[in-house]
Structures are given as structure tokens and as C-alpha cells.
């Protein structure tokens, strides 16, 4: 039996959605009507424009509430995320797991690659202090973590990883404007393959706009997006390495 869901405002199945957007027209009654008709044009049933304001002479901002009749069968939904929260190990569990199953430290190298200058993602996952009360990989006793920082060329990252005999490489990409990350991430995998070393490392991609599905398509073992903490990455890498060691 289908389990159909719709947005919930204050009554089951009322389908209420809140929207805000800008139109390239002046603010005023005509603009508000244009906003209302636009929302209906997107497939919503009713629309109430509750607020409008001039952003400039030629642009106007709207807040609107609308109703959708579209429903979704929740039973058919599958998540593309690599981890489900109940399988994520804590820092201590991960360390015990590595000690028991591998009996040695894992070596892990991370960097924000290409021209991307933003270390915020790789720092959140790797720095000792971590982020939002989640310790970073540098804190894990059974992980030897190297954070190479930002604007690291793919070649340099791979060379460094080979030199320290890394088990896993973490590639962070924050800037995704005009899909600049796609080329860079692809080049990384191609370089590894050209050197015949793709199999040598577990390759992870991360960033606010990176999904697991996207990363796997580009040839990575996994991708981690928004809401990722060190333990998600550590769990995946540890399990993957154990899997590899058994294979």
C-alpha cells in the first residue's frame, strides 16, 4: 500500500509551502500579480503573495505561500547518502575497530584541491578541534592525518599521498560556481589512473555541494556533503579498508 506524503502546514496533507524569490520587474500591484501567476505556473494550486518589496528600481522581492497537491510515495524513496546515521561509529569505536581489524594506524591525506582556496570543509573534518563538537581526524589515535590545506594541485596531493604511503585521500571542493569542481575532481581520478594507482587509495570527495552519487559517478569511493563530520568519513574509510584487506 502506498504511503503518500505531502508538505504539512498545520493540517495533514494541506500541502502548504513557503516561497521567497526575486523577479526582474518593479515592485507594485503588477509585480505582485506577476509573482502570484508565476507560482501558479510552477504547478501550485493556490498562491498568496504575503509580502513584496523593491530590491532596486528593476527588481522586486516576494514572500508567498502556496499549496501543492503533488504527493509522493515515501515507501519508494531511497537515500543516496553513503552513511545511515545508525551505522556511524564514534571516535572511540572507530579506533577500536581499526585496532582490532587492521592492527595498524590508517594514514589519511586531505586537501582542498585545484584553485579552491577554502579550507573550511577540510578543516572541519580534519583539524584536531573538529567542528561543532565533533572531533577531527587528527584527534583519532589510530589515524595519522595530514591536512595539506588549500590550493593544492592534484599532482602534489597524489605525490604526497604516495610518499607517506597513505591509505586514503580526501579531496575537498567548496567552490562549485560554473562547475569548476567537476573538471578538477575528474582530473584527480584520471591522474591516479594514469599512474596505475587508483586501486592503491580509498578516494573520498567532500564539500557542501558534493553528494555520494555524484562522487561515485566521477570515480570516487564515496562523497560526503552537508552535515558531514569526521566520524562519517572515518567510519567509511575504516570499513572500506577492512573490506579491501579481506578481498
Amino acid at each position: 500500500m502506498a504511503n503518500v506524503i505531502r508538505p504539512y502546514g498545520d493540517t495533514l496533507d494541506d500541502g502548504k509551502v513557503q516561497l521567497s524569490f526575486t523577479l526582474p520587474v518593479p515592485d507594485g500591484p503588477r509585480g505582485r500579480e506577476a509573482a502570484r501567476l508565476s507560482v501558479l505556473g510552477w504547478g501550485f494550486k493556490d498562491c498568496e503573495v504575503v509580502h513584496s518589496a523593491a530590491v532596486s528600481d528593476e527588481f522586486s522581492f516576494y514572500v508567498a505561500y502556496a499549496t501543492t497537491e503533488a504527493g509522493l510515495d515515501y515507501d519508494l524513496v531511497q537515500s543516496a547518502e553513503v552513511h545511515s546515521e545508525d551505522q556511524v561509529m564514534s571516535m572511540d569505536e572507530t579506533n577500536d575497530y581499526i585496532r582490532a581489524k587492521l592492527g595498524r594506524k590508517i594514514v589519511l591525506v586531505g586537501a582542498c584541491t585545484g584553485f579552491d582556496a577554502h579550507t573550511v570543509g577540510i578543516d572541519a573534518v580534519m583539524n584536531m578541534k573538529g567542528y561543532n563538537h565533533h572531533f577531527g581526524l587528527e584527534r583519532y589515535p589510530m589515524i595519522e592525518a595530514y591536512n595539506l590545506g588549500a590550493q593544492v594541485p592534484n599532482e602534489k596531493l597524489i605525490e604526497f599521498a604516495a610518499r607517506v604511503k597513505a591509505d586514503a585521500i580526501l579531496v575537498s571542493q567548496i567552490v562549485t560556481q560554473k562547475d569548476v569542481h567537476v573538471e578538477n575532481m575528474t582530473q584527480f581520478i584520471e591522474l591516479l589512473e594514469a599512474r596505475g594507482e587508483r586501486g592503491r587509495f580509498v578516494c573520498i570527495a567532500g564539500g557542501p555541494r558534493i553528494s555520494n552519487k555524484f562522487a561515485v559517478e566521477l570515480g570516487y569511493d564515496a562523497g560526503f556533503g552537508k552535515g558531514t563530520y569526521a566520524e562519517h568519513v572515518a567510519t567509511f574509510v575504516a570499513k572500506k579498508l577492512v573490506e579491501k584487506s579481506l578481498a
Binding site: 528600481d57 528593476e58 584553485f115 573550511v120 567552490v175 569548476v180 557542501p208
Partner: protein, 519 residues
């Protein structure tokens, strides 16, 4: 400026004394060196401009031709070529772009070269001086029309023409300052691209033509609104002095310019950076450009609560290096940010203490206060509340330059409506509490006073340690932002040149004279 925090004058004086002692050996080194970009900046100020068919800028072509003899400076060979080849600066630039080498002309009548160079330097600096006077006149004409603090917004489309639309919209809605974010790769380019650009990632190339386009667009809004609109760009990176020179010529009003940012956060060689920052700041000072320093970066890298003292220490050092470049305090937009984890109990009070402390220690500096970024999530509603708290602190502590928070920080480069909402929030909060700072006192022994005094004390201890180790070794050992940078590592070291006995740079000489610098 009322002293609300009871900060010890003796401790503040001690911190300044330490900063002076820390900077001294670095400045000794700086005095004996030049860099490729210092020479290119001087060339630009006397008219070197344009690029060849491959996009290599004329100043780079000249400096590359002089490889091995840069220890005497680049100006004399350039002007010698000008005199020998006949014609004006524009014609010489075109010839150089076409393949002419300035080294093909043996150095001729030195007195004539000297006279001509001095004439070109005077012309170049006169142009910068006129820009400065224009800004001063407009600020006087429209005084009290800007918000206090100045409301600062960023545009970052990658396309200068799209930037113009967004910047004009933001300025019309009340933004006082527009900063054009640079494309993410530019800080590591050892040249400045030429011409208008429409392709960039996470920002737009800083080029002289782009500066000119945005300047004209903002002047248009300013005339209409009778309110001066400040234009900001980034000097930081491998071309600090050159971008400062371009900004001086095109009347930029603010430039991001930190004495150590390039070293710590862009892995640029430390010797190179210290030489570059000095010359760039001399140009900024002469042009009346307000610098924005980068202390906010310490807080996104390290923990804002635990490492608050590194921010204050860096502010003292930035102040010292700016004074050493002839810059008055009123041009020092010393940076800091509200980046503590929002879940900390009384976090608001600690942030308030930090902001008020900076205000009292640097009373003349137009402090640049940066909004939360590190703990901004996809929850735009919470983000908007955090930004409102930030707006409150900024007004309550009389900050000078207020970078508006964006509710969609951490999601995308701001949409037009995001900027609009940020501006509306700031205007609402700041208007409704306009007189708050005059009303409020802090309780003796309370959280705010205690915190501020503690951070000051920790800063003095930290500066003592740096003074003992030396600044370069302190950076090498990772005392700042947990980042370790070896002295001979990093990018751009090959562009550092020891000044020879014949070194001649009349741009530098004139700037020193005008700024009252002994060295």
C-alpha cells in the same frame, strides 16, 4: 571614547611596545629588499600598462627582461628605453607588447633618464593625489549621508558587468561599501590580468579596467543618492603592491591588505610578503585608501573563543606594520569577526567584549567587523537571527565598517534578495538601537569586563613569546592560526631581490618623502 572596560593602559602600551620590537628586525630586512611586484607597481605608477597577444602584462614583460639586474630597480631601464625609442609612454608600452626589449638600449644619458623618470613619477603621483582629493571633497560634500558603521556588501558573480548590476542595486538600497570579490585563483597569480573580464570562479578578476568600470557605476549611484559609495578590492596575494597601485590610480577607497595573511592562508613566502606589504601600504597610505586587515581568518581556522588573543595580537602587528608604512590610524580598518560557536552560553557577551575591547584599544581605527560564517548552516532562518545579533554588537560597540551577514552563507554566493534582506535587517537593528552605545555601561567584575581584560592579558603573554622567538620563527613554528610556514618555503620567493648599491626607485623615494618616512 569612553573607557567602559577598565582596560589597563599599561598593558596596552606594553603590547604596542612588543609589537614595535617584533616588527623591527622584519622592517630591517624589508628596507634592504625589493620584489618583482614592487618593481612592477612602480612601473605601473609611471605609466607601464597593457599586455601582449598572449595576455602577458607589460610590467611583467619589462621585469622579466631585467632578470638578473633587478637589484638596481626597473624604472631607469624602462625610462631609458622610452627616451631612446622616442615617443610617449603609450607607444613604448605598445612596442614592448610587440616584442621590444628595454635591455636592447644601452643606458644613455643618466641625467636625462633621471629627469624624465622624476617627471613621470610626479605625474603619476599627482593623478593619485587628485583621486584622493576627489574622494575627500565628495565625503565632505555628502557628510553624514553614510550609515555608521559603513554597511559593506560583497558582489561575486565572476562577470564585471553582472557585478555592476548587483552593486548598483545594493548601493541604491543603502550599502555604503561595495567589495568585488576576486576569482579564487588570483591571489596566487604573479601578474595582474589585463582588461575587462566576464569569467571568474567565486569572484571576478581584479584588473584595472574592471576597477574603472565599477568605479564609474558606483559614482553614478553616488551622484544620484548624494551619498559616497566606497569601492573595495583585494590587494592581498602575490601582487599586493601592483593591485594597490591600480587601486590608487582608479580611486578605490578600501583594499584588503594584511601584513601576514598571504603567508598564513595562501602559503606565500614570508620574506616576499613582508616586502610587498610595506610598499603596498605606502601606496595605500598616499592614496588615502583604508586598508582592511584579515584577522577574521584566524577565527575561521582556529577556535574563536580560545584564540581570541591571536586576533588582538595580529591587530597590534598590523597596526605596527601600517605605521611603519606611513599610514595614519584613521586608515587602518583592523579586522575581526563574530565566529564563536553559537551554542556557547553567554557567547553573545564574549563577542560583545571582544568588539568593545578592539574599539577601546584602537579608538581611531575604523574597525572592520565580519559576520558569522563558520557556523552558518543551511538553516537560513537561524542564520538570519545570528546575523541580527551580529548587527546589534556592531552598532553597540561603534564598529567602523560592517560587513553584512548573508542568511545564505555556506549555501551559495549571495542572491540579490539575500543582500536585500541583510541590509534591511542591519538598518532595522541599528536604527532601533542607535543610542545604545552611549546608554550602556559594563558591570565591575561582570562577564564582559572580565573577558576583555583576560584576552588583553593573554595577548601580552602571546606577544612576549613572539618577541622572544622572533616573528619569522613564530610563524614557522605555527604560533599563528596553527599554520606552520617554513621561512624559505611558500610561493614567490624567487621574486625577492636584494637591493644593490645602485638601486633606484624614485616612486619609493617620493612616497617616503610625502609620508614622512625615514626609511
Amino acid at each position: 571614547m569612553r573607557n567602559k572596560l577598565g582596560l589597563s593602559k599599561e598593558r596596552i602600551d606594553r603590547a604596542r611596545e612588543l609589537a614595535e620590537r617584533i616588527a623591527l628586525p622584519v622592517l630591517d630586512f624589508v628596507a634592504g629588499h625589493t620584489t618583482v611586484t614592487v618593481e612592477r607597481a612602480a612601473l605601473r605608477l609611471i605609466g607601464a600598462d597593457g599586455s601582449n597577444a598572449d595576455g602577458a602584462p607589460v610590467p611583467n614583460l619589462v621585469v622579466d627582461q631585467l632578470k638578473g639586474q633587478l637589484e638596481s630597480g626597473a624604472l631607469a631601464p624602462y625610462v631609458n628605453a622610452l627616451l631612446r625609442s622616442g615617443g610617449g609612454v603609450g607607444e613604448l608600452n605598445a612596442k614592448i607588447a610587440g616584442g621590444l626589449k628595454v635591455t636592447d638600449f644601452p643606458l644613455g644619458d643618466r641625467a636625462a633618464v633621471r629627469r624624465k623618470t622624476e617627471e613621470l613619477v610626479a605625474e603619476g603621483l599627482k593623478r593619485v593625489g587628485l583621486s584622493r582629493k576627489h574622494r575627500e571633497a565628495k565625503l565632505e560634500e555628502w557628510k553624514d549621508r553614510n550609515s555608521k558603521p559603513l554597511l559593506y556588501l560583497i558582489v561575486a558573480t565572476g562577470n564585471i558587468y553582472e557585478d555592476v548590476k548587483q552593486a548598483q542595486a545594493a548601493a541604491l538600497k543603502g550599502a555604503d561599501v561595495i567589495a568585488v570579490i576576486r576569482t579564487t585563483a588570483q591571489s596566487l597569480l604573479d601578474y595582474v590580468p589585463y582588461g575587462a573580464t566576464t569569467e571568474g570562479f567565486g569572484g571576478t578578476y581584479a584588473t584595472q579596467e574592471n576597477f574603472r568600470i565599477m568605479r564609474a557605476a558606483l559614482d553614478e549611484v553616488a551622484e544620484r543618492e548624494k551619498r559616497y559609495i566606497w569601492l573595495t578590492n583585494y590587494a592581498s596575494g602575490l601582487c599586493m603592491p601592483e593591485i594597490a597601485a591600480m587601486g590608487a590610480i582608479e580611486r578605490l577607497d578600501m583594499m584588503l591588505n594584511d601584513s601576514m595573511y598571504g603567508i598564513l592562508f595562501r602559503d606565500i613566502n614570508m620574506y616576499r610578503t613582508f616586502v610587498d606589504q610595506k610598499f603596498s601600504r605606502m601606496i595605500n597610505a598616499y592614496a588615502g585608501i583604508t586598508i582592511n586587515t584579515g584577522e577574521d581568518n584566524y577565527l575561521t581556522t582556529s577556535d574563536a573563543f580560545e584564540k581570541a588573543n591571536t586576533v588582538l595580537a595580529s591587530q597590534f602587528l598590523n597596526e605596527r606594520f601600517a605605521y611603519a608604512a606611513g599610514m595614519p590610524a584613521r586608515l587602518m580598518g583592523l579586522g575581526h569577526a563574530m565566529e564563536m560557536e553559537p551554542g556557547i552560553e553567554n557567547g553573545f557577551l564574549y563577542e560583545l567584549a571582544q568588539a568593545q575591547m578592539a574599539r577601546e584599544i584602537f579608538p581611531e581605527a575604523p574597525l572592520k567587523y565580519m559576520p558569522p560564517t563558520k557556523f552558518m548552516s543551511g538553516d537560513i532562518f537561524k542564520g538570519h537571527v545570528m546575523d541580527s545579533m551580529f548587527n546589534f554588537i556592531s552598532k553597540a560597540t561603534d564598529q567602523g565598517i560592517h560587513l553584512l551577514g548573508m542568511l545564505t552563507e555556506a549555501i551559495h554566493t549571495p542572491f540579490m534578495m539575500d543582500r536585500f534582506l541583510g541590509l534591511e535587517s542591519a538598518k532595522y537593528v541599528m536604527n532601533s538601537m542607535a543610542g545604545f552605545s552611549d546608554e550602556i555601561e559594563f558591570r565591575e567584575g561582570g562577564i564582559v569586563k572580565t573577558r576583555a581584560n583576560k584576552v588583553l592579558e593573554e595577548t601580552v603573554v602571546f606577544l612576549e613569546e613572539i618577541a622572544q622567538k622572533g616573528l619569522l620563527d613564530s610563524i614557522a613554528q605555527g604560533l599563528f592560526a596553527d599554520v606552520k610556514r617554513p621561512k624559505d618555503g611558500g610561493k614567490g620567493l624567487e621574486g625577492l631581490v636584494k637591493k644593490g648599491p645602485e638601486y633606484w626607485n624614485p616612486v619609493e623615494d617620493e612616497l617616503k618623502k610625502a609620508l614622512g618616512l625615514a626609511r
